[in-house]
Symmetry: C2
Subunit: 199 residues, 2 copies
């Protein structure tokens, strides 16, 4: 269902739904609770969303689009692949830290939802994998990234590691600062853990 | 509830449950289906397990114990930290490849289960993190692993990456060989993706 943006009601319901999903958990949440939190009648929800699954699906698409648009707009000039990879990790940490409810729903509740939704999650994941793959290939052309790596493994390593660090932060109640971890994490992914002979 | 091992019935029910969870999904599975698959009466299940959640909890504990016992028994002599880390990744891939039903339940279905179970999953994860932390610290003492890494990030990177590669393999229906990925993946984690100035 296409979002109808009139009156900002769509946004109002979406914000309320994120809050309800984060506080009560996705499974336990009901349309009635979301309507109450948004200050609208139950029936109003159905003008904008098919059902609870559709709210989650639109949430995933909206967040992913916002993330990738922001990332794209950050690079007007020419940055190196390494700089872009570091910026990607930093942005991921920043948007998570910015709104812990959104982060909690994205990192935890989204993954508990039904099979129906799997396609939207897969699309978002594919976009992330494609972006990392593109950056890594550019880095190889620039001579900054090794040629003897399997791109499929590199994509999984970068996505899974960043994702796990954010999920740990969410599960710990967001009690520490996530952004300062971006630099050491990027360094780990770039240089690995092994000591170099000269070190 | 302590498992009663008499008659091998416990093992028989556990195997059937893994098959049912893998084929029907954890949420959709019932005690009646597990009993039928195991060839026992419904009531027999309750001699060994409190409920469906208890079957999953015992599964997690049993698999984790088996994994860590096997890993420990592999090192009689003195292996370097790097060798042990590589062996850990290889073993993780081997046991996953050995039994795809077990891998599917461990990687996917286990994580969909109730909050009640979270403690058992947390324990298994903590054991893995502790083991990696111990190997990394030994590697630092041996001079093989950099001292300027944050151990918390290293643990998350190694666990999340190995876990993600296994989950991708499970979700792809186990259609390719997992074990040959152990060496290139270990190499990635050890050396990172950045080209060295001399390369």
């Amino acid at each position: 269902m296409e979002p109808k943006q009139k009156n900002g009601k769509h946004e109002q319901i979406m914000s309320a739904a994120i809050r309800v999903f984060a506080e009560k958990g996705y499974f336990q949440s009901t349309i009635a609770q979301i309507a109450r939190a948004a200050g609208v009648a139950d029936g109003t929800i159905y003008l904008y969303f098919k059902n609870k699954e559709d709210i989650m699906a639109q949430f995933v698409n909206q967040q992913s689009k916002k993330f990738f648009d922001t990332f794209t707009s950050m690079f007007e000039g020419k940055q190196s692949a390494i700089e872009r990879l570091k910026a990607l990790i930093r942005l991921h940490f920043q948007v998570s830290q910015e709104d812990r409810y959104v982060a909690l729903v994205y990192q935890v509740e989204m993954r508990r939802s039904d099979r129906l939704m799997k396609e939207d999650i897969k699309d978002a994941l594919r976009m992330y994998h494609d972006l990392v793959g593109q950056i890594v290939e550019e880095g190889q052309q620039e001579g900054a990234i090794r040629h003897d790596v399997q791109i499929g493994l590199v994509k999984r390593m970068i996505f899974a590691t960043v994702d796990e660090v954010i999920t740990s932060w969410v599960m710990a109640g967001g009690k520490y600062d996530l952004e300062p971890l971006a630099e050491p994490l990027a360094n780990l992914l770039l240089q690995g853990i092994q000591a170099t002979p000269t070190a």
